[in-house]
């Protein structure tokens, strides 16, 4: 295998990894603050992509032509809408169930995911068909032997990494982040110290869901196609990535996301029938779980988020 080809595989894997990591970080944030698993997360990714698509169509009707403006407007709309949705989910579904068995939260969010998916399928015009997602980023390509890097892929990769870094900074360097970490570590003591518990939980859910929306937009811009069922597999992969990395730990989620993408890419390279690549990746995850049940980077009680 020559260098260009290897580089291409690495790039493909990195792109997938960034999308998976963005989804996985959401799972890990929610688990960090409340010890809940929110299974509607994948469908929030999908809903974010559809909000972006609808915004794009709206802007076209209005006759907006500046691509830069469209990209920003579309992303902001998707992120804002999903942040609100995330906060609402926290306020209306997750917080009221805080003192009931964790299984209830899991079930409720699973149902919510199904409702979101079917709502898009039924109420988005022709929602059961795959929708072309516009290519809004520059498409210049840089070619080196068998290696091709397109500007849009590079922008998406950098934007994804920047978003993850931003979330990290937000949690480790700001007052709000301090509050999130405090709640994650010990909700009762945090309350006694004057932290507004409910607000912190809602902000965390808003943050995770906005990141999911960004994953949805990235997915749409990268593949130029979205469909109502895309969140299902992304949710499962994001969750597996978070668990393998160590639920509750941001670095773990990022590591898990890239690890899963790497496994899928390896699977596709090794097997002559590429359909086996998911089997390979998930089987590897099972083995990793058996080896390290708490995840690769286990959650430390002193630094939970």
């Amino acid at each position: 295998m020559d260098l260009g080809l290897a580089g291409q595989f690495v790039l493909n894997g990195l792109m997938l990894g960034v999308i998976y990591a963005m989804v996985a970080v959401g799972f890990t944030l929610f688990f960090g603050v409340l010890d809940v698993i929110k299974f509607s997360h994948g469908d929030v990714v999908m809903a974010g992509a559809f909000v972006a698509l609808a915004t794009f169509i709206g802007l076209q009707v209005l006759g907006v032509e500046s691509l830069l403006f469209i990209v920003i407007a579309v992303s902001v709309a998707a992120l804002a809408a999903m942040a609100v949705l995330g906060a609402l989910i926290a306020r209306l579904l997750v917080l009221p169930l805080r003192n009931s068995p964790p299984l209830n939260t899991l079930l409720v969010t699973l149902m919510l995911g199904l409702a979101l998916r079917e709502a898009v399928r039924l109420f988005y015009p022709n929602g059961s068909n795959p929708k072309p997602f516009p290519a809004l980023l520059p498409t210049e390509a840089f070619t080196f032997g068998s290696f091709t890097l397109r500007a849009d892929s590079l922008i998406l990769l950098l934007a994804g990494i920047a978003a993850i870094v931003l979330v990290h900074v937000l949690i480790n360097r700001t007052r709000m982040g301090l509050a999130i970490r405090a709640v994650a570590q010990d909700p009762e003591t945090a309350r006694v110290m004057g932290v507004n518990f409910e607000r912190v939980v809602m902000v965390t859910f808003a943050l995770g869901s906005a990141l999911a929306a960004l994953a949805g937009v990235t997915n749409g811009l990268y593949y130029n196609e979205v469909n109502f069922g895309m969140g299902l597999l992304l949710g499962v992969i994001g969750f597996s990535a978070a668990v393998v990395g160590g639920l509750g730990n941001i670095y773990g989620a990022i590591l898990g996301g890239f690890l899963f993408a790497g496994l899928q890419t390896l699977g596709a390279v090794w097997f002559s029938v590429p359909a086996y690549k998911d089997v390979f990746a998930f089987a590897a995850v099972i083995l990793l779980m058996a080896w390290k049940p708490t995840g690769l980077i286990a959650e430390k009680s002193a630094e939970r988020v």
Binding site: S128, N227, S272, P274
Partner: protein
Amino acid sequence: MKLRLVCLSALLAAVLGATLPAAAKDTVRIAFIGPLTGGVSANGIGGRNSADLAVRVRNAEPGTQYEYELVVLDDECKPNIGVQVATKAAADRKIVAGVTHYCSAVAMGTVDVYHKFGMPVIVWGAVLPDVTYAHDYDEVHRVNGTMINQNDVAAKFMAGLKYRKWVVIHDTTDYGKGHNKYFSEDLAQQGGTILGTFGVTADQQDFNAELTKIKELKPEVIYFGGLTPIGVRIRSQMEKLGIKAVFQGTSGIVSDAYIEGLGPLAEGTLAFREGAPAEKLPGGKAFLEQYDKQKYPDPPEAYGAFAYAAANLIIDAIEKVGPDRKKVMRELNATRDHQSIVGPVTFDDHGQNTVPLITKFVVQDGKWIVWEDSDYAKGKRKLPR
């Protein structure tokens, strides 16, 4: 959706019935089954409209003995759903016959159901040979040709264009595997080489890893055996990796949805399909005129004319022998040189129409154009080499 359609068609029948003269005709029910939701729903809806058109046109004619009603069911292009709705239709003794299935995997799954209940059906879109040839059921017929004819023509045509090196991507359903098998066999006879074969899942999103491998193999042509949704994904991801090979599809991507999903990227895509475009068919012009008159919101798509012809064959049989499943089945089995809008229909002893007619298509300026009429055939434009 399904319920709404049934209600709608029932309502429509009621309205039509109310406006007709009082001379009460018996109502005869015919089923239409196709994918009305999901990735290939554009084809399903086009087929449903066309079958509906056949019924409406017949009901408007004064000389018919029966009042026809189309019962529309959605198989979602999923075999499990297909078996459910096929059972629903076949178990309903009021339904005499059916115009059934666009997806091969679904058509394969349901043949046993029709045989068990003795309901005669005419397949209007599925192209897997096994749908008619893997069993001896008298109930199952098909108006469109099979992928055997399609791939034979495809291999000869592509060899004629002096292409030598292929890579095959196919989905791992019966449809995709069948295309892979027949095309590979036909291509070997033509002296073409297949550098690699890639089976992919039918709902896969990311093809970058497969395409990166394919890029290294440097094929002249990428042959794709599968349906529109992943066809769109593969073609657009090819572009991102800078793969310049010709994209050669099958009947599964000859749809407006393929072009809509890709925009300018669809240019130069080749595909092959049984029959000919509606306007070139023997009765195609009249069909399109009538179709436009009914103001359906969606186009008839590639297989609409076949659904129309299938519905007409059934209605003709019922007019002749009455609404009895066994008699209708025998009448259909005896079909020889029956004039239809897709040309004369003759069923062989497996109920397969023996049309050899295969049309070659290329996308030019956002439309599927018959190869012979295209700028590519005239040498004004060139396919990538």
